[in-house]
Structure formats: structure tokens, C-alpha cells
């Protein structure tokens, strides 16, 4: 048959074994990994205090909150959507949980103290609600996620302002306080929470039907729809998952930082997005995963932490950070191109 001859022709050399395929398919994961290695080696040489066990703990601590957010964001980006409201939703949720906790009088917030579990429930409800509004706007009304979550970013900030009114709340429910501030033996709970989110996020993506749908929807939305996948439901779910992850990150973060205040998490938006894309997950959807996000988190974590260890001009650090970020992205692109060439 003609199809046969044509095909066998195409795929030679046929020796390309499973491991080769595997390696190739991992090339876009390897690129950020190389960036990571490079940074680690560089900072280890540049500062004696960088490559210490204690500092490894620091780095893990420092990326934990971003990591929890980035799990949800990875799902969103895998679906070829974006969520610009992650940091804002985190902030709002963190503030809600503090708002419903008894604050010391000096906090000076007219709040509504409730039992811890109730505060946590209400906070979770808040982030689900905000995620639900995102999901509704994107899938039902048809607002592009970039714009929808841009509006949500401002709404989240508005909720924060309304609740704390410029003050700072310090107390959170004991359970949250434990997660944010205590440690299980040598490992802080916040790291454990982040690791759990990453692990569950990975398992769901790789081993469940829903996870497969996420990749398929991101890979080709139309095809997914014509295969009978409920695309809207998948997208609505990832928007809500993202908000939920952000919410947990916000609650744990408020405990970790010891206070809940407006604009506290602002810098986390760029950090979370950067972690996901530096890790090699494609903004166009369908390619990447939690593994990539972990590498991306480590790249950014090491970069931020390492720059604190070396003695360079504070004003120059900002520029250097930007340039290294750009370099990491360029490396990613070339690795992906190399991979694409190999595949075809």
C-alpha cells in the first residue's frame, strides 16, 4: 500500500529507541536544568555561605509560597490560558483568614473573630468564589483570561483594602500558624505543604483523566472539544484550581510572613509566572508540567537567594536579575527548537 511505503520512509532511521525518544522529549526540561546548574555553581564559587545546608533550607523556604501558587498557574498555562490574579487572590484570601481571626487590640481592625476552622472555611470559600468568577467570566461570558484575571487582580486588591483598611493583621488561626511557622523536625511545614501541592499537582496531571484533558485542551482546544471533552469544564476547573492554590498560598504565606496586609504578595505575580515559563512550560499550552515548574522555581529561588549572598551594588542587582532571566529564556527557546528539529 502506498501509505506503508511512504511512512516507513519518513521514520528512518528506525533505531530511535524509547530512551532516545524519552531523552529528546526531555530536552526542553533539561535546558532550564542547565541554567539552574550554572547558577548554583556560580553562586557557590562567589559566596562561601551559599552552598550550605542551612541555605538550601532557606531556598526551599523561600520558594514554597511561590510554589503553591505556581502549581495552579501551571495548570492554567498548560491549558493555554493565563491567570494574572494569582497574587491578588492569595493576598485577599490571606486577609480574609486574618479578618475572621481574633486580632490583638493593637491591630486596630474592625474584624469579625470566628473559630479557626470557620475562618479557614470562609477563606477557602473566598478563593473558590474568586476563582469561580474567573471561571465564569472566561468560560461562560467568554472574556479572554488575560483580561478577566486582570480585572480580578484589581477586585482582589479592592477586597484587601476594604477588609484591613490600611492596617496590618497579625493573628491567624492556630492551624494556619502551624503550617506557616512551625517545622516537622528539621523540615518546615511550609516546605511540606509546597511539596505536597507539587506532588499532588504532578500526580493529577500525569495519572488522571483530568490531567490528560488539561494537556489535550492546551494542545488543541478544538480537537479536544470534537473528541467530546468538556473543554469549558476543564478550563473552569483550572481557573478554580489556580485560585484555590493561590488561596492556600495566601493563607500559609500570611502565617509565614507573620502579617496580613495590602499589597503584601504583589511581587509574587511576576515570580509565579516567571517560575512557570522559565521552567519551560509553554505559554501556548499543552507542553510542560509540574516538573518544569519545580526547575523554574529553583532557578528563580537560587537567583534571588544567591544575589543576596554576593556583595554587589544593590542598584545593579535589579538589572543583573533581569538579564539572567532573559538569558534563561533564550536558552529555553533554543533547546525547544533543537528538540523540534530532532523530532521532525
Amino acid at each position: 500500500m502506498s501509505a506503508q511505503s511512504a511512512a516507513s520512509d519518513k521514520t528512518d532511521p528506525p533505531k530511535s529507541s524509547r530512551t532516545m525518544i524519552w531523552l529528546r522529549s526531555r530536552l526542553s526540561n533539561i535546558a532550564p536544568f542547565i541554567t539552574l546548574l550554572f547558577l548554583v555553581v556560580f553562586f557557590s564559587i562567589a559566596s562561601p555561605s551559599f552552598a550550605t545546608l542551612d541555605n538550601v533550607g532557606n531556598i526551599l523556604n523561600q520558594i514554597s509560597i511561590t510554589a503553591i501558587m505556581a502549581v495552579g498557574l501551571t495548570y492554567v498555562i498548560l491549558c493555554a490560558e493565563i491567570d494574572l490574579s494569582v497574587a491578588s487572590v492569595a493576598n485577599a484570601t490571606g486577609i480574609v483568614v486574618a479578618y475572621f481571626t481574633l486580632q490583638d487590640s493593637y491591630a486596630n481592625i474592625a474584624n469579625v473573630p470566628l473559630p479557626g476552622y470557620a475562618a479557614i472555611l470562609l477563606a477557602l470559600l473566598t478563593c473558590f468564589l474568586l476563582g469561580g468568577v474567573n471561571a465564569f467570566g472566561v468560560t461562560r461570558i467568554g472574556i479572554p483570561s488575560f483580561i478577566m484575571t486582570l480585572a480580578m487582580l484589581q477586585i482582589g486588591a479592592g477586597i484587601c483594602a476594604m477588609l484591613v483598611r490600611g492596617q496590618i493583621a497579625y493573628a491567624v488561626p492556630p492551624f494556619i500558624a502551624t503550617l506557616g511557622q512551625k517545622a516537622l523536625g528539621p523540615i518546615p511545614y511550609v516546605v511540606i505543604v509546597a511539596a505536597t501541592f507539587l506532588l499532588v499537582g504532578h500526580l493529577v496531571l500525569q495519572y488522571t483523566r483530568f490531567g490528560r484533558y488539561v494537556y489535550m485542551v492546551g494542545g488543541n482546544r478544538e480537537a479536544a472539544e470534537y473528541s467530546g471533552v468538556n473543554v469549558r469544564l476543564v478550563i473552569a476547573s483550572v481557573m478554580i484550581i489556580s485560585a484555590a492554590c493561590s488561596g492556600v498560598a495566601g493563607m500559609v504565606g500570611v502565617a509565614y510572613f507573620g502579617s496580613a496586609q495590602q499589597n503584601e504578595f504583589d511581587s509574587y505575580l511576576l515570580d509565579a509566572i516567571s517560575a512557570v515559563v522559565v521552567g519551560g512550560t509553554s505559554l501556548f499550552g499543552g507542553r510542560g508540567g509540574i516538573g518544569n515548574t519545580i526547575v523554574g522555581l529553583l532557578v528563580l529561588g537560587v537567583l534571588n537567594n544567591g544575589l543576596d549572598h554576593i556583595n554587589i551594588d544593590s542598584f545593579l542587582k535589579i538589572l543583573i536579575r533581569g538579564l539572567i532571566l532573559l538569558a534563561a529564556l533564550v536558552i529555553n527557546i533554543y533547546a525547544q527548537r533543537l528538540r523540534a528539529n530532532q523530532m521532525n
Binding site: M1, S2, A3, Q4, S5, A6, A7, S8, D9, K10, T11, P14, R18, I21, Q206, Y207, T208, R209, F210, G211, R212, Y213, Y215, M216, G219, N220, E222, A223, A224, E225, Y226, S227, G228, V229, N230, V231, R232, L233, G286, R287, A340, N341, Q342, M343, N344
Partner: protein
């Protein structure tokens, strides 16, 4: 007509091209003379479009040489090719939907006044005049996206025809046109040829190729097999050289009457009544029985594509009901439709497949829920996929291969294979053979018959009469969104079908 004497207008020699590891063209020679219509045929993936894109300056990285008027040329972009007088109508519709008809007629070369200002008024007037000469009467200022697809295609063709190009490449230009439009196009090609322009014409409709061409070149697997004068050639010759000996009878012309073989006793699996959706289709009532293929024929833009989508819950009719196996269902979305027992294969490959994913994931997506409600069962997926890969003769038979590396025909088979395990109650196929070579068409026909024989009710929607005639047990003809005629257990030919449309 013999062109041997004068110097060729276009001369390609030793052209090779590969994409990554895939070799699309090997050492191809090709010549085109002034005033010649050169037909190009070959199986899917044979490299026809690739060669044309090289001529048109889209692919710039290739081996071999290209001469125009004897002068060696190496285009760096489509712009260079256009400047050299080469225009191409691409296989995929390439219009800008939000821009006006006039701008699409002049896409990329909007007329400007002396001061470099875009001359809107002049452009509208000229576009209207051009289109009128093709028998098209539309307001040049409406967005082209608001027109029916056939008309969009005609406007795109007119852009190239009126661009002043000396060499006009038409890559499957008729796939979205109705027979009358096709006729008009062919008339125009002849007229252009009289004025000394040359054309390369690609089509999988061998009758058309033989009808319009002066010369025919046959491609196979990236190589040029033969070039011959069209006059006196027979279809069987083309098929033999495209696919190999023994398949000469593959394509029937359906010029004579054939009997439809309806099955009035089988149970009804799908019944719609009064389906209406905006201007797309009105008051469509139909039934499909188990083990029967219902063909729905209509010119492009007659509403049959929208009807197919509505049956799969992608579009939502304002009025009417759908019942499956006698039970009324509400097709709120494609997932609901699937669960209700519907399956659908869209007309374009791009919208049915995941090219970055391996074969087995492409095949298993619809049945994941049956393997396990929550978890994935990759081994079971592979097993199922392997069965289909063998039974459908998909090459290469490796289920971990990324789909994007397969040839078009094989990709299309994968799209069908998706539903083979699912075994829906009703399978809706939208233009299942569009753009397929004769061999692949035949494969599709076999697969569809196999599914029918398993008792599935099948709806085949198409604007190609041959497809409908080769598959259907019963035929509905749609015209302007309404069911115009039904053929049941009677003799029907291509001409009768066209008359009804």
C-alpha cells in the same frame, strides 16, 4: 498543445527538501511553459504543496535550482516570488476575516495614491469590478469573514488571478467550491491561458485534472514519477502511477445511475425534528437507522456543516428536538453529545488531532472514562491503539510516535480510529474525504462501511457528490439551509444530485 519548442518559463531541477528528519521532496525536476495549464496529482504527502511553496517563496531553504526565464532565482520570501510574477492560492484558505472584501482582494498590495495614502475608494471600486467579472456581486466593504466559505475561496482566488502574476499556482482550489463555481473557475483559467499566463493546478479530482490541464505530472512519495500530455490520458493511468498497479478502478465517476440500498426495517437510532439554527439551517428533520449511512449533500455553505456540528452539541439550535434511540436528548455540549452516544469527525485535520501527542493518546481521548473513571490506564490505551494501528494499516505502526510526524492520510485515519473503540450509536462524519487522495478515500470508505456493518448509524455530510454516492444508503440534499430532497431506494447519479442541490 506542445510546448517543447520554446524555452520554459519556469524550470526546476534537482529540488530536494526535508523538514527535520522527514524528506518531502527528492531530486525533483519540473518545467512549466508560457500559456500552459499544468496539472499536478499525487497521494497525500507526496510533496505537491511543498514544491509549490518552494516556487512561491514560502520555503526558502531547499536543495536544487530554480530558473525563471532561464535565469537562476532564489526567492527569500513570498514577496520576492510575487515580484517575480508568481502567485499562489494556498491549500488552506488564507484570508483575513476581519478585513473587508476589497482589502482581501488586494491583500498585501493595497493601492495607494501618489502620497502613499491607501486609496480606499479606488480599491473598493476596483475590487467590485474584479469580482463582478467573476460573476460575484458583493459589497466590497463588508468583512470577508461574514461571507459563505465558497465565496471567500472565490475571492481569494480572484486575488491571485488579478494580481497580474504570470505563473498562477492553485493548490486544491476547488475543495470549497460548488460545482457551478468550479465551472466558472475553469472557464476563467482557460481565458487566462489564452492571454499567455501559465498555471499549475493541483487537485485530487482526477476528472478535473484531466479536464483542464494541458500537461499532467504525477508525484509519489516525494518524487516526480512521470510528466505526460493530458490529452488521451486515462484516469487509470494516473491512479496506477500515484498508488501502484491493481488499484485502477478506485475512483468511480458516478456518471451513471446507481441504486441506493436503504434499510427501512432497522431501528431508528437518531431522529431530529424541526432543527433550526439562525441562518445556517432551518427545519431539518431526519432519521438515521442502525447500520445505515445517511448521506447529506449540499454545496458549501448550504448549512450541512453547521448541522453536523449541531448534532454533536457544538452548535446549539434554537428550535427542534433530537432523539437518540427514541429518547429525547439535550446536546448541551460535545461532552454531553458523546455521552449520549454521538461521535463526530470534523472536516479539518487540524481540528481533530493533537499533533504534539503520541498516537495512542490521540486515539484514546474519547474512551478514557471507560477505562477508568478517574485514573489513566496507559497500558490499556496502548493496547487498544495497537489493535487499531494494525487493523487500519496505519504506518508506521508505533503508538508512541508523535502524531505530527505522520503523513496526512495516516493522521486522518487516527482521527477516525478515535471512535472505533468508543462505538457510538451515531457517528457524524463531516467532509470525511476532503483533500484526500484516491487511495485514502478508499480506505475511509472501507472503514465507514465496517462501522456501518457493526450496526452504528452513520451520517456523512459532504459537498463532494462522489463521497456521498460512494458511502450513502440514503441521501438528503440540502439547499440554502433546508432539506431540499431525499433519495431513498432509488437510482441516483451525480447529475441528479447536482440538480437537486
Amino acid at each position: 498543445m506542445v510546448f517543447g519548442g520554446d524555452r520554459p518559463l519556469l524550470e526546476l531541477s534537482g529540488i530536494s527538501k526535508s523538514f527535520g528528519g522527514v524528506t518531502a521532496l527528492r531530486d525533483v525536476d519540473f518545467t512549466l511553459h508560457a500559456g500552459e495549464i499544468h496539472g499536478l496529482v499525487g497521494e497525500n504527502g507526496a510533496g505537491k504543496s511543498t514544491l509549490m511553496k518552494i516556487i512561491a517563496g514560502v520555503h526558502t531553504d531547499y536543495g536544487g535550482t530554480m530558473r525563471i526565464d532561464g535565469e537562476e532565482r532564489n526567492f527569500r520570501s513570498a514577496r520576492d516570488a510575487l515580484k517575480a510574477g508568481i502567485g499562489m492560492v494556498h491549500q488552506e484558505l488564507s484570508i483575513v476575516p476581519d478585513l473587508s472584501v476589497a482589502e482581501n482582494v488586494f491583500l498585501g498590495s493595497q493601492p495607494v495614491t501618489r502620497f502613499g495614502r491607501v486609496d480606499w475608494r479606488g480599491m473598493n471600486a476596483q475590487a467590485a469590478a474584479h469580482l463582478r467579472s467573476l460573476g460575484i456581486d458583493v459589497d466590497p466593504r463588508v468583512p470577508i469573514g461574514s461571507l459563505p466559505i465558497g465565496l471567500q475561496q472565490m475571492i481569494e482566488i480572484s486575488r491571485v488571478l488579478f494580481s497580474g502574476a504570470r505563473i498562477i499556482i492553485l493548490d486544491e482550489p476547488t475543495s470549497a467550491l460548488s460545482p457551478p463555481e468550479i465551472e466558472r473557475l475553469f472557464g476563467l483559467l482557460q481565458a487566462l491561458r489564452q492571454s499567455g499566463r501559465s498555471m499549475i493546478f493541483i487537485s485530487h479530482f482526477l476528472d478535473d485534472i484531466l479536464g483542464v490541464s494541458d500537461t499532467v505530472t504525477i508525484f509519489r512519495n516525494g518524487r516526480k514519477i512521470v510528466t505526460a500530455e493530458a490529452a488521451g490520458l486515462r484516469k487509470s493511468f494516473l491512479i496506477e502511477h500515484m498508488i501502484g498497479a491493481g488499484h485502477e478502478d478506485l475512483e468511480e465517476s458516478y456518471t451513471s445511475e446507481m441504486m441506493l440500498d436503504s434499510k427501512p426495517d432497522a431501528p431508528v437510532v437518531l431522529e431530529t425534528s424541526g432543527l433550526t439554527l439562525g441562518r445556517a439551517f432551518r427545519d431539518v428533520s431526519l432519521t438515521v437507522r442502525a447500520g445505515e449511512v445517511l448521506g447529506i449533500y449540499g454545496f458549501m455553505g448550504s448549512g450541512q456543516l453547521e448541522l453536523a456540528r449541531a448534532l454533536f452539541g457544538k452548535l446549539h439550535p434554537e428550535k427542534g428536538t433530537v432523539a437518540i434511540e427514541g429518547r429525547q436528548v439535550s446536546l448541551k455540549g460535545t461532552a454531553a453529545a458523546r455521552r449520549a452516544g454521538m461521535a463526530f469527525v470534523p472536516e479539518s485535520r487540524r481540528s481533530m488531532l493533537f499533533s504534539h501527542e503520541p498516537l495512542y493518546k490521540n486515539m484514546s481521548i474519547s474512551i478514557l472514562g471507560r477505562l477508568h473513571p478517574v485514573l489513566l490506564r496507559p497500558n490499556a490505551e496502548r493496547e487498544i491503539a495497537e489493535r487499531h494501528v494494525v487493523s487500519l494499516g496505519i504506518r508506521p505502526p508505533r503508538v508512541d510516535q508523535h502524531l505530527g510526524t505522520l503523513s496526512g492520510g495516516n493522521q486522518q485515519k487516527v482521527g477516525l480510529a478515535k471512535w472505533l473503540t468508543y462505538l457510538p450509536k451515531v457517528l457524524v462524519l463531516s467532509e470525511p474525504t476532503r483533500g484526500m487522495d484516491v487511495g485514502a478515500k478508499d480506505d475511509v470508505v472501507k472503514i465507514v462501511r465496517g462501522l456501518r456493518d457493526q450496526g452504528i448509524g452513520i451520517v456523512v455530510v459532504s459537498s463532494e457528490p462522489e463521497t456521498v454516492l460512494s458511502l450513502a444508503d440514503r441521501i438528503l440534499v440540502m439547499r440554502k439551509g433546508e432539506v431540499a430532497r431525499e433519495f431513498v431506494s432509488e437510482a441516483v447519479s451525480k447529475d441528479r444530485l447536482l440538480d437537486a442541490a
